[in-house]
Symmetry: C2
Subunit: 217 residues, 2 copies
């Protein structure tokens, strides 16, 4: 298809597609004349992927380029590909204090989690625990093990859905989406659940809300 | 205390503190001479709060100003304050298709959730479900009700911890931190749980990882 049709089918304006081509997020089309190219279904699929990474996951272009590059390799080590995807959107800022880092290491040992000791997620968790303490709300993480158990259950469901794919490439593709877009999925669910719990606990105007059939009256 | 001591105690450089003063994130100190002011414990507390919102939650200055403004009001309606905090970091981009919006409305009804029909979280969830479908991985959300139930349990624990405070102002403060920094808390836990689940499912080099005592050998 021509670029105009690619634009029509993907809903992405032609200048934006040209930008993605220049930025090498999208491979070039097949030249049919010196200044005309045709594009295939894989271009359309990739454009949809880029659009979601920009619009829904809010990732910067450089990060998306890195993710695509990883997905373009033949997959020889799925755990490695997933590790890269997992790290993409969780860069810790600084070093957390020794005490909180030990608290995270203890948690990992208690849960029997098989994770790299220098995992960005472990660092990010230590950073968050330190922030809670600094702000005088350290008790928010008092039930750390229960929160960790909840995360385990969700991760098991996530991985089961991803693992149903036939080829390692399809698993990697689904895992990247499940990780990056999945963040927003779980965040939105948690926000809704919070809003509901807050209504039950604090609302003075609950009557103005739309409640489901099982809500207390 | 003088600004130099405030800087020392908070670990924030003097020019950055002056920037926060100019941006009205920090109220002015008490003038002791035409060009000298003193600052109190509430300035220190607020600086720590700003630093976490910048460094850990990565919020832009304008958003932090909005959150602080909300927290500075006397709290008459906790549910409203929490609602503002909940919406802060989850602005949906566009309108999701009617079909996914209906799917979210059905979920809310099934769970009996007491939430506003135009809730940003409901819109964000519809957007994510549409993105999964567009990308050909709609099955990632197949167990929507189980994911929702997991979010409910986490939200109940979150709210219980927040609700232990004595004054509505303290509840609001803890709830804002629990919501905004809590996002990163749960994200980090989920990432660790994913890394562990992926190691069990896909790793070809698991021996190079540090595993807890309960991990399979």
């Amino acid at each position: 298809m021509r670029i105009a049709e690619l634009s029509h089918k993907s809903g992405i304006p032609v200048p934006t597609i040209k930008f993605y081509l220049r930025e090498r997020l999208l491979p070039p089309g097949q030249l049919t004349s010196p200044n005309q190219a045709t594009y295939g279904e894989e271009h359309l699929r990739r454009l949809r992927f880029i659009r979601v990474m920009v619009d829904v996951a809010h990732l910067p272009i450089a990060t998306i380029r890195g993710v695509l590059k990883e997905l373009d390799q033949p997959v020889v080590d799925l755990h490695h590909v997933l590790g890269s995807a997992l790290s993409t959107t969780l860069a810790p800022r600084g070093a957390a204090p020794e005490e909180t880092r030990r608290r995270v290491a203890d948690l990992i040992a208690r849960r029997g989690w098989c994770v790299k000791p220098d995992s960005p997620a472990a660092q990010a968790l230590a950073e968050v625990l330190a922030a809670f303490t600094d702000l005088g709300v350290g008790d928010l993480a008092d039930r750390l093990d229960e929160f960790a158990a909840a995360a385990e259950r969700v991760a098991a469901m996530d991985l089961a859905a991803v693992g149903r794919r036939r080829t390692p490439e399809d698993v990697a593709y689904a895992a990247v989406i499940g990780t990056i877009v999945g963040d927003r999925f779980h965040l939105a669910l948690r926000r809704l659940a919070h809003e509901n719990a807050s209504a039950a606990m604090f609302a003075v105007r609950a009557a103005t809300f739309a409640c489901g059939k099982e809500a207390p009256t």
